[in-house]
C-alpha cells in the first residue's frame, strides 16, 4: 500500500479545540459578569436598607425645647436584623455633639451639598457598610446639622455573594459543557463531507477514473475540481502507457513472428545440416526472447495489479478447467497428459486474471520441462479452511538447494538447459499468491520423479 503523507494534525481536533477554548473564555467571562452583578446587587440592596433605616431614624429627630431629641423607631433597626446575624451600629450627631450611638464609627467625608454618603470600612475588626444621612434643624434660631449614621457588618452580604458565586460557577460550567458538546458535534458535521469524499474515492476500483460528481460544500469545490482534473490526467496517461505497451509489444512481436515463420519455411526447404542447425538456433533464440518479453510484460502487469486486486468470487475448478482446455493442444504436441482432479466446491475471493496467469505460468513450466509421454496432474482441493491448487509433474523435480532460490526472479532449474524460458514464471506465481494472502510451496514428489507446486489460498 502507498505510504501515508506526513500529517499536520487533525482538522477536527483543531476545530474542536478552538471552539472549546472560545467557549471556555466565554464561560469565564460569564462567571465574572454574573459575580460582579450579584455583588453590586447585594451591595445596593444592603445600601437601600441602610439608607431607609438611617432615613427613618433621621425622620424621628425633632427639636423639643432647646435640644434635639431622637426617638429611634423600633422598625428602623429591626429592618436590618433580618439578614443572618449581622451586627448593627448607629450614631446620631447633632452638629459636633453625639446624641446617641457609637462615637467611634468612622467619619464619612462628603461635600456640604450631599445629604447622604456611603462607606465601606473596617470597624472593630469587622468589615462594615455604613451610610450617613443628615438634615438641618433649627434650634433656638440656629441651624443644626443632625447626622444619622447606620452601619452593618457584611457577613450577610458575603454569604449572599458566596451563594451567587456558586450559582455563577455552575452556570458558567454548564454553559461550557453545552458549548463543548456542540463544538464536538459541529466539528464532526463540518468534517463529514471530507470523510464522505475520501470514502467515495477510496472505495473505487483501480480503473475507476470517473470524476467525483456528488454535491459538495462550496469550500470543497476547488479541491474536488483539482482532484477531477488530476484523475483525468491520470486516466489519459494510464491509457497512453497501456497503448504504449500494446504498441511496443506489437512492434516487437510482429517482426519476430515474421522472422520465425520465414525460418520455419526455409528450414523445410534446406537440406544441409549446418544450415538447418543455425535455423533451429535462430528459432530458439526468437522463442526465448519473445517468451522473456511476454513474461516481463506479465510481471509488470502482475506487479501493477497486486496493489489493487480486482476481486470476485472464483470457482477454482472452473478456472482450472478453462486453463486445461487452453493448454491441452500445446501439451498434446509433446504427448503430455493433463490430468485433473477437481473439487467443484472450491471457491476463493480473488483476482481471476492474476490467478489464471499464475497457474498458467506453472503449467507452462511443467509442459516445458516434461519429457514426452508424461503426466501433469492439476488438482483443486480443500485443505481445512484453505483452498489448494496443486500442479504435479514428472519432469524430474527441483534440486533441493534450488527450491527457495527458484522463485527469485530469473532463477532457473537445472533441467532448463536447452529449454526456452526466462524463469520468471514462478516469481509471478509467488507474487500473485502472496498478494492474496496465500502461500506458494515448492516440493519434489515422494518418488522424486517430479516437482509439485502448491498454491494455497486462505
Amino acid at each position: 500500500m502507498s505510504e501515508l503523507p506526513p500529517s499536520t494534525g487533525s482538522i477536527r481536533r483543531r476545530l474542536t479545540l478552538q471552539l472549546m477554548s472560545g467557549a471556555a473564555i466565554l464561560a469565564t467571562m460569564l462567571f465574572f459578569v454574573v459575580l460582579n452583578v450579584a455583588r453590586d446587587l447585594a451591595e445596593s440592596s444592603q445600601d437601600n436598607i441602610l439608607f431607609a433605616s438611617a432615613t427613618s431614624i433621621l425622620e424621628s429627630a425633632a427639636v423639643q425645647g432647646d435640644e434635639v431629641v431622637v426617638d429611634i423607631p423600633y422598625g428602623a433597626l429591626s429592618m436590618l436584623g433580618n439578614v443572618s446575624d449581622d451586627r448593627v451600629f448607629y450614631r446620631v450627631m447633632a452638629g459636633p455633639m453625639l446624641l446617641t450611638g457609637y462615637d467611634n464609627l468612622p467619619e464619612i467625608v462628603r461635600g456640604r451639598a450631599e445629604p447622604s454618603g456611603f462607606l465601606t470600612a473596617s470597624y472593630g475588626g469587622e468589615d462594615i457598610r455604613m451610610v450617613e444621612v443628615s438634615r438641618r434643624l433649627s434650634l433656638n434660631g440656629q441651624a443644626v446639622d443632625v447626622a444619622v449614621a447606620v452601619a452593618q457588618t457584611r457577613n450577610g452580604q458575603a454569604e449572599t455573594v458566596a451563594q451567587m458565586t456558586r450559582v455563577a460557577l455552575f452556570s458558567g460550567a454548564g454553559f461550557f459543557l453545552v458549548a463543548a458538546v456542540m463544538a464536538v458535534l459541529t466539528a464532526q458535521s463540518s468534517i463529514r463531507p471530507l470523510n464522505r469524499l475520501a470514502g467515495s474515492v477510496s472505495r473505487r476500483g483501480p480503473k475507476d477514473m470517473r470524476p467525483v460528481a456528488g454535491p459538495v460544500p462550496s469550500e470543497m469545490v476547488p479541491l474536488v475540481t483539482s482532484l477531477n482534473r488530476f484523475m483525468a490526467r491520470l486516466k489519459t496517461s494510464l491509457s497512453r502507457s497501456e497503448d504504449f505497451i500494446a504498441e511496443a509489444a506489437h512492434r516487437v512481436r510482429t517482426p519476430l513472428a515474421t522472422v520465425r515463420t520465414q525460418a520455419e519455411v526455409v528450414l523445410r526447404r534446406v537440406d544441409r545440416d549446418e544450415n538447418r542447425q543455425s535455423l533451429r538456433e535462430m528459432i530458439r533464440a526468437i522463442d526465448e526472447s519473445s517468451r522473456a518479453a511476454g513474461q516481463l510484460l506479465d510481471h509488470a502487469m502482475v506487479t501493477f495489479r497486486t496493489d489493487h486486486l480486482e476481486r470476485e468470487h472464483i470457482n477454482l475448478a472452473d478456472l482450472a478447467e478453462e486453463l486445461v482446455a487452453r493448454l491441452t493442444p500445446v501439451a498434446e504436441l509433446k504427448e503430455l497428459q493433463l490430468v485433473t482432479k477437481l473439487d467443484a466446491g472450491c471457491e476463493i475471493y480473488g483476482d481471476a486474471i492474476l490467478i489464471q496467469n499464475a497457474v498458467r505460468n506453472i503449467l507452462d513450466n511443467a509442459i516445458k520441462y516434461s519429457q514426452t509421454d508424461r503426466e501433469i496432474l492439476l488438482e483443486v482441493l480443500k485443505g481445512g479452511e484453505r483452498s489448494i491448487l496443486r500442479v504435479t509433474d514428472q519432469a524430474g523435480g527441483f534440486p533441493d538447494a534450488l527450491t527457495t532460490k527458484l522463485t527469485e526472479r530469473f532463477a532457473r532449474g537445472v533441467n532448463s538447459e536447452g529449454t526456452v524460458g526466462s524463469g520468471l514464471g514462478l516469481t509471478i506465481a509467488k507474487e500473485v499468491v502472496e498478494a492474496h494472502g496465500g502461500q506458494l510451496l515448492l516440493q519434489n514428489t515422494d518418488r522424486g520423479d517430479g516437482a509439485c507446486v502448491t498454491l494455497s489460498f486462505p
Binding site: 533451429r280 506479465d298 496467469n357
Partner: protein, 221 residues
C-alpha cells in the same frame, strides 16, 4: 483446408501464406478489415486467422460484426499484445481461440485442429489413401474397417506422409516437424514413431518403407 488470413504486416503475411501453402492449404490474404469483410462474405472458409491491430480498424470490431452476421466460421486471433490483458476480451467477443505472436506452426495447427474438432469438423477432412481412411481432426485411422485412435505425434507423422505420398522424408526433417525446436532429440527418436505407425498400418495395403541413408517413404504396396 481453406484459410483466410487477416494481417496487415506484409512480411509476416507472406511468410504465413508460404508456410500454410507448404502444407497444401488454400489461403486468402486480407490486409485490412474491409478486405476481410469482403472476402468472408464471398467465400467459405474453414478458419479465419485474425490479427488485432489493423490499419483501418480493430480486429475485434471485425470479430463483433462477424459474429453478428451469424457467420459460424471459427476464428483464431493472432495477438501481439500482452497475454493477460488481451485474452479475455478476445474470447468474450467470440473468438474460438487465440495465439500469441510469434507462434509455432505446430501449435497453430494443433489449435486449428482443436477448434475445428470442437466445431464438429466435416467429413471432408477424411483423407483416403489406399485402403486407409484417415481423419486428422478426429485423430482416427480406419484400416480394414477397424478404427484406431492415433496419438498426437503418430497423427502428425501420418499427416506428413499422407499429404505427399511416395516422397522421401529424411529423419532430420521429420524431427523438425514432430518435435518443438527447444527439445533436444536425436534423429533416432523418429524410429519410435515410425515403428508405432507401422504397427497401425499392419494389414493394410499401405506401408512405410525405409530408404537406406535417405529416410522414409509411404506408398501403396
Amino acid at each position: 483446408m481453406r484459410f483466410l488470413l487477416v494481417e496487415d504486416n506484409e512480411g509476416l503475411a507472406t511468410a504465413v501464406l508460404d508456410r500454410l501453402r507448404m502444407d497444401g492449404h488454400v489461403v486468402d490474404h486480407a490486409p485490412d478489415v474491409s478486405m476481410a469483410e469482403e472476402f468472408s462474405a464471398t467465400a467459405d472458409y474453414d478458419l479465419i486467422l485474425l490479427d488485432i491491430m489493423l490499419p483501418d480498424g480493430d480486429g475485434r470490431d471485425f470479430l463483433k460484426s462477424h459474429r453478428a452476421r451469424k457467420d459460424e466460421t471459427p476464428v483464431i486471433v493472432l495477438t501481439a499484445r500482452s497475454e493477460v490483458s488481451d485474452r479475455v476480451g478476445v474470447l468474450d467477443l467470440g473468438a474460438d481461440d487465440y495465439i500469441t505472436k510469434p507462434f509455432d506452426f505446430s501449435e497453430l495447427e494443433a489449435r486449428c485442429r482443436a477448434v475445428l474438432r470442437r466445431r464438429g469438423g466435416s467429413s471432408s477432412n477424411a483423407h483416403r489413401f489406399g485402403d486407409l481412411v484417415f481423419d486428422a481432426l478426429a485423430g482416427t485411422l480406419d484400416v480394414d474397417g477397424v478404427t484406431v485412435a492415433l496419438r498426437n505425434r503418430e497423427l502428425r507423422l501420418l499427416e506428413i506422409f499422407i499429404s505427399t505420398p511416395n516422397q522421401i522424408f529424411s529423419k532430420a526433417k521429420l524431427v523438425d516437424r514432430l518435435f518443438s525446436y527447444d527439445e533436444d532429440v536425436s534423429e533416432n527418436a523418429i524410429e519410435v514413431y515410425v515403428g508405432r505407425l507401422r504397427k497401425h498400418l499392419a494389414g493394410s495395403n499401405v506401408e512405410i518403407s525405409t530408404v537406406r541413408g535417405l529416410g522414409y517413404r509411404m506408398s501403396k504396396s
